[in-house]
């Protein structure tokens, strides 16, 4: 009797929800095929790739960590690793505070229309691809014909080779990252600022607090938790690497500081067909990234914040 009832219950449940499960078929199939299935190819990092045998039939390498050892003995790998850490670190150092400052400025902007207009303009670069931005930069900063060097020439400076000297290349790389994302990254802070109780400002007004004191004692503490979570999460991504940005901006003269893990893996792996070596490097990067994220997340929780999961 009881069994019958639970059978009926299951029937009713399925009758009510089968369309929902049907909807999930495509997304699940997508995730399984294009996100989980390639994970089986990670085995490449532990095999000697044989083009004719394919991934599965290729023999296991001996010793099993052969390709990791090989990677750690390659000079270019260390350059790529160092550059990844250096460029991401500098991005964090300069790219993290600027949006906060810009968001505070935008929030203090008294003219509403003008504020909207400013936002429209500063969000715009976010939507340009790195290929477009590198195209703009290469023309803007060209040593002879670029407008920056033309203007510098008028005050007898330069010409400066922004994109072909090591230090200047790194500076330009960071500056362009700021240009692209500083406006966009204010959105999240501006949203956090709207969540601050307006009564706090009114009370401060009555006490005669200056604008700076209101920012320092109300606005900043109001977005403190947003700042901490974003900072920690960004620190967790220090070994992650973009591809388009370094690939589009790099040139032969600055490879020593421009080559990062993603571009190295592309060049040596897909162009150079060294699948095993670069799979090992990719796996190393993914695993370290996940560990960093875990560490960052628990750090965020220790600060009493929500973290990301």
């Amino acid at each position: 009797m009881k069994q019958k009832r639970s059978g009926r219950k299951a029937y009713l449940y399925i009758k009510r929800t089968w369309t929902l499960y049907l909807m999930l078929v495509l997304p699940v199939a997508f995730a399984l095929i294009f996100r989980y299935l390639p994970m089986t190819n990670i085995s490449m990092a532990f095999k000697d790739y044989n083009m004719f045998k394919g991934v599965w039939a290729s023999p296991w390498s001996d010793p099993i960590f052969k390709w990791f050892q090989k990677a750690f003995q390659t000079k270019d790998f260390w350059f790529a690793l160092r550059n990844t850490l250096m460029l991401n670190g500098l991005d964090l150092l300069f790219g993290f505070p600027l949006p906060i400052i810009l968001a505070l400025l935008l929030n203090e902007l008294a003219f509403k229309r003008y504020k909207k207009f400013t936002q429209t303009i500063v969000y715009l670069p976010h939507f340009l691809s790195w290929i477009i931005i590198s195209g703009i930069a290469k023309q803007l900063l060209a040593p002879r014909t670029g407008v920056v060097n033309i203007l510098l020439g008028r005050i007898d400076v330069g010409p400066i080779n922004f994109l072909t000297e090591h230090g200047l290349y790194v500076a330009t790389y960071i500056a362009l990252g700021l240009w692209k994302e500083m406006g966009w990254n204010t959105i999240i802070y501006l949203a956090a600022i709207t969540g601050i109780n307006p009564e706090l400002y009114e009370a401060a007004e009555v006490d005669g607090a200056s604008r700076f004191r209101k920012i320092w004692h109300i606005t900043l503490p109001g977005i403190r938790s947003t700042i901490i979570v974003l900072l920690i999460m960004n620190m967790g991504r220090i070994l992650g690497s973009e591809f388009d940005r370094p690939y589009a901006m790099a040139n032969d003269l600055v490879m020593k500081v421009a080559d990062v893990l993603s571009t190295y893996v592309y060049r040596v792996g897909i162009r150079g067909m060294q699948f095993s070596l670069t799979s090992a490097i990719g796996l190393f990067q993914s695993v370290v990234c996940v560990l960093f994220l875990f560490a960052a997340n628990s750090l965020a929780k220790r600060f009493g914040e929500r973290g990301i999961w």
């Binding site: 999930l24 008294a110 939507f127 023309q139 993914s286």
Partner: protein, 289 residues
């Protein structure tokens, strides 16, 4: 009185600082626009800064003469349209069932999708997969492998959660099934979010570069960013035509500027219309970042 004067001065100083940010963002683009509309002679003599000198459409005409570049523009536009429609559909399918709290397996599904945000197979395993699936040099490789962004799924899901359950329940009492509820209640309400996601997907495809670089070698299927990369780095047919003397001596710099404009203008055209939506969208995504 003194105080309000001080405030006014501060307001003006802040407005001026913001104006500098506007200039920083706009001037590089203005310079490229000016170059693309200037004559070769003016550019050779370094006379072009932020205003066209000897105004001419020449550079644009020369870019348009390169049939491969023009075809790539149309191809990318078509690709963007297809990708946006498919991606939006899949994103809706992936997020809507999650609002049913009592759906069995919901937690597992959610975890399975979120995990892919933090751990991916990596460049080479993905490349090998495309090989195994015979997708290399197949135009589908530019559509399917990135047709669902988990981040966008989170945005939509967070929005759908904000719709009061009572709306759904009253429709269910009247006998509407999940699909009916989706079409009659949820989709009309989520138009602004869907507009945001459409913008993100469309811009993502229009700006997409690395998948084409890695998976597509047939120039027929090269999207605009790949073509633009070749033009900027002097590996394009426009450049060759010019060196071989088919084209009049337009400075190649002008060609590059015009090519950049062709890739940028479509974004500039749709961006202002969708701006009022995406701020809300981004804020929603941050809820569960």
């Amino acid at each position: 009185m003194v105080k309000s004067n001080k405030r006014k001065i501060e307001d003006i100083i802040i407005a001026v600082i913001c104006f500098f940010f506007i200039l920083i963002c706009l001037l590089p683009m203005v310079n490229i626009l000016a170059r693309s509309l200037s004559s070769a002679q003016a550019m050779i003599n370094n006379r072009v800064s932020f205003w066209p000198v000897d105004f001419t459409w020449e550079s644009y005409f020369y870019v348009l003469k390169d049939s491969a570049f023009v075809r790539s523009l149309w191809w990318t536009a078509l690709l963007t349209l297809i990708c946006t429609i498919i991606s939006l559909t899949i994103t809706i399918l992936a997020s809507y069932p999650l609002i049913y709290d009592n759906l069995k397996g919901r937690k597992f599904y959610n975890g399975m999708m979120l995990l892919t945000m933090y751990f991916s197979a990596g460049t080479i395993p993905n490349y090998l997969l495309m090989k195994q699936l015979n997708l290399i040099d197949n135009p589908l490789v530019l559509i399917i492998p990135n047709c669902l962004s988990i981040f966008n799924m989170i945005i939509l899901r967070s929005f759908l959660y904000t719709v009061p359950d009572s709306l759904r329940e009253s429709a269910q009492v009247e006998g509407a099934g999940p699909i009916n509820v989706l079409i009659r209640i949820y989709l009309p309400l989520s138009k602004p979010v869907l507009a945001t996601l459409a913008l993100f997907y469309a811009v993502g495809r229009w700006n997409g570069f690395s998948d084409a670089l890695m998976y597509v070698s047939n120039p027929k299927y090269a999207p605009i960013q790949l073509k633009l990369y070749q033009v900027i780095n002097n590996r394009s047919s426009i450049e060759t035509a010019q060196q071989e003397g088919f084209a009049a001596p337009v400075a190649s710099e002008g060609l590059k500027s015009a090519a950049v404009m062709f890739a940028t203008v479509p974004i500039l055209l749709i961006y202002p219309w969708l701006q009022r939506y995406f701020i809300a969208g981004v804020t929603l995504g941050a809820i569960k970042e």
